[in-house]
Subunit: 333 residues, 2 copies
C-alpha cells in the first residue's frame, strides 16, 4: 500500500485514535485522585521542589519521602493486619506450646475469647507479638510472614491483605519516585514483617523500610550462621519513636511525610519543622462504604491530635470519600 493512499492515511489516523487515550492516561499523574485540594497540593509541591528555577528547589539526594504503613498505605481495620497475623500464628504454633492452653493472653486467643483478649490490654498484645515474632532466624520469620500473606484473607473483604492497599497511594509512591524522591516506610509495624511484602506491593526495597525492631543476635552454631530474633523490643517505632528512627537510619530530615493517625504526629511535625518547602499529609478515613470511617474515637488508628495539628498547620488532609475515585486496586473503576 502506498503511504499516500487514502486507506493508508485512514489507518494511520485510526491507530493514533487508539493510542491517544493511552498516552493521555500515562501523562496524567495520580489518576485515582479526583482533582480536589489534596491532588492539587501534591502536584504543586512536587512541581516546586523539582523545578531547578524555583526558589523551593530541592536536589534529588534530599528528596526523602516517608510514609506510615497501617492506615496510610493499606487498611488497618478491624485491627492492624500484623496483629491478625500474630493471632493466626498463636493458633498455628499452639501444638508446640501446650502451656498456652492455661496461659493468658494465649488461652483467650485459642478459645476465641474476645473479652479476655481485650482485657489483657497492651501488655497482652505485646506478649502475643513477642511470642510470634521472635525465637527464630529472620529469614525463617520472613518466610512465615510471606506464607501467611499468601494464604490469609481479610474477614470483611475476603481479599488477601496485600490487595487491601490504597491505589491512590500506590500512584503517589510511583509519582514521587518518578520525580527522584526516595520513598521510605516509617511504621509501627515490625520491620521484617513489612519487608516480606513492601518491595513487591509498594516498590519499596528492604533498606527503605523502617519499623519497630526486636533485639537480635548473631549466632554461629558449628559454622552455621544465623541472626536470631530475641523477644525484647529494640525500638518502638511509634509516635516520638518515628523521628528518632528517621534520624538514626536515614540521617536526613524528610521533605514529605504522610500518615493517618496520632502515631504519626511527631514524624509530621519533624518533617514540617525543617527549612524550605515541605509537605505533610494525612489520610482521613471518611469512607464507611468503600473502606472505613473513623478518627477521633477509634481504638485503632486514632486521629485526634494530629487532625488538630493539621488544621493549625495547614497540612493536607485527604478526605478519602470525596477525593479518591478508587480506594483499592481490585475495584472496578
Amino acid at each position: 500500500m502506498s503511504q499516500s493512499s487514502p486507506l493508508y492515511r485512514l489507518r494511520w489516523w485510526f491507530s493514533l485514535l487508539l493510542v491517544l487515550p493511552l498516552l493521555a492516561q500515562a501523562a496524567v499523574p495520580l489518576p485515582s485522585w479526583k482533582d480536589g485540594p489534596s491532588r492539587q497540593a501534591i502536584l504543586a509541591f512536587v512541581s516546586a521542589v523539582t523545578d531547578e528555577g524555583s526558589k523551593d528547589y530541592v536536589p534529588p539526594a534530599e528528596r526523602i519521602a516517608v510514609f506510615d504503613n497501617d492506615g496510610t498505605l493499606w487498611s488497618e481495620q478491624p485491627m492492624y493486619f500484623e496483629v491478625l497475623f500474630a493471632l493466626d500464628e498463636v493458633k498455628r504454633l499452639a501444638p508446640q506450646h501446650p502451656e498456652w492452653k492455661e496461659q493468658q493472653p494465649f488461652k483467650a486467643v485459642l478459645e476465641g475469647d474476645q473479652k479476655a483478649l481485650a482485657d489483657s490490654g497492651m501488655e497482652g498484645l505485646m506478649k502475643i507479638i513477642a511470642a510470634t515474632h521472635s525465637g527464630m532466624a529472620t529469614e525463617a520469620f520472613i518466610d512465615q510472614s510471606r506464607s501467611w500473606l499468601a494464604n490469609a484473607v481479610h474477614p470483611k473483604s475476603g481479599k488477601p491483605y496485600t490487595e487491601m492497599v490504597f491505589q491512590p497511594m500506590l500512584e503517589l509512591l510511583r509519582f514521587l519516585r518518578a520525580n527522584d524522591f526516595k520513598t521510605y516506610i516509617v511504621s509501627g509495624g515490625e520491620v521484617a514483617f513489612m519487608r516480606a511484602f513492601a518491595e513487591e506491593v509498594y516498590g519499596i526495597p528492604p533498606e527503605q523500610v523502617i519499623g519497630t525492631t526486636f533485639q537480635s543476635e548473631f549466632q554461629d552454631q558449628d559454622g552455621k550462621l544465623s541472626i536470631q530474633r530475641l523477644p525484647q523490643l529494640a525500638h518502638n517505632d511509634d509516635g516520638p519513636g518515628k523521628p528518632v528512627s528517621i534520624e538514626q537510619v536515614i540521617g536526613r530530615r524528610p521533605i514529605l511525610a504522610f500518615g493517618n493517625s496520632d502515631g504519626d504526629l511527631q514524624m509530621l511535625q519533624w518533617t514540617m519543622a525543617g527549612r524550605g518547602k515541605r509537605f505533610a499529609g494525612l489520610v482521613h478515613h471518611t469512607d464507611a462504604k468503600r473502606e472505613w470511617a473513623y478518627d477521633r474515637e477509634s481504638k485503632v488508628g486514632r486521629l485526634d491530635k494530629a487532625l488538630d495539628a493539621a488544621k493549625q498547620g495547614n497540612w493536607t488532609v485527604v478526605d478519602m470519600a470525596k477525593e479518591w475515585s478508587r480506594v483499592y486496586p481490585f475495584e472496578n473503576n
Copy 2:
C-alpha cells in the same frame, strides 16, 4: 588554515597525543592498584556478578557492598581518629565541666597523663566517648564534628584526617557504584560522626552509613523540636554487632564486604555464607613506610582471627605495601 594543510594535520595529531593518556587513565579501573592478585580478584568478581549471561549474575538491587571505616577506608593509627576527636573535645568542653579536673579519665586527658588514661581502659574510653558524643542535638554534634575535621591535623602526617583516606579504596567505591553497587559503611564508629564527612569524602550518603549509635530522644520544647543524644549506647556496631545492624538497617545480605580487623570477622563471614558468588576482602597494613605495619599484636585494629579465616576461606588479603601504588590522595604518583 585548510584542513588538509600539513600544519593542521600536525596540530591534530598533537592534540590526540595530549588526550590519549587521559582517555587511557579514565578507561582503566582501579589505577592505584597494582595489577596483583587483589585487583584481579576484584575485577573478576565484579565482572561475574554484572554479566547478565553469567551464572553468577546478581541483579543491581541486590548488589550491596559494605565497608568498615577505620583502617579500611582511612587510617586508624596511632589511635582511631574519632577517639582523637573525643580527646580534643574533652579539652574544649573542660571549662563547662570544672569537675573533670578531679575526675578520671577526664583528669588524665586534661593533664596529658598517658598512663592514667591507658589505665582507665575500655570503661574510661566509653566515658570519654559518651561525655563528648551526647547531651546535644544531632545537628549540633554533626556541626562540631565538621568543625574539628576542618581544623585538626594528624600528629604524624600533619594532614587533615579527611585526607588520610586510602586512594585505592576511593577508587574501589567509585568502581563499584559505576557497576550499580550500593556502597555502605558498616563501622564501629559513631554514625553521626561518620555522616559528618562520608558523603563529601567517600561519596556515601547519610542513609548508607551504619555505625555505633547512642540512644536519642525526640524533644518538643515550646514548639522547638530536636532530637537529643543520650549518653547510653543503643548499638555497638563491632564484631557480631555488624551483621546484626546490616540485617536491621539494610535487610539484605551484602555480596561484598571489606574490612581490616577482627572486628570485621562476623560481617565478612555473614557476607560469605550467603548463596551465590561473594567477595570478602581485608586491607592488610603492611606498609610501615607510607602508612603503618601492624596485625596480630596491635591494640588498635588487631587482625588475627580474621587473617586466619581469610587464609582458610580464600578471601582476598590486600598487601598494602605490595599492591597499592599510592596510599593517600595527597601523595605524588
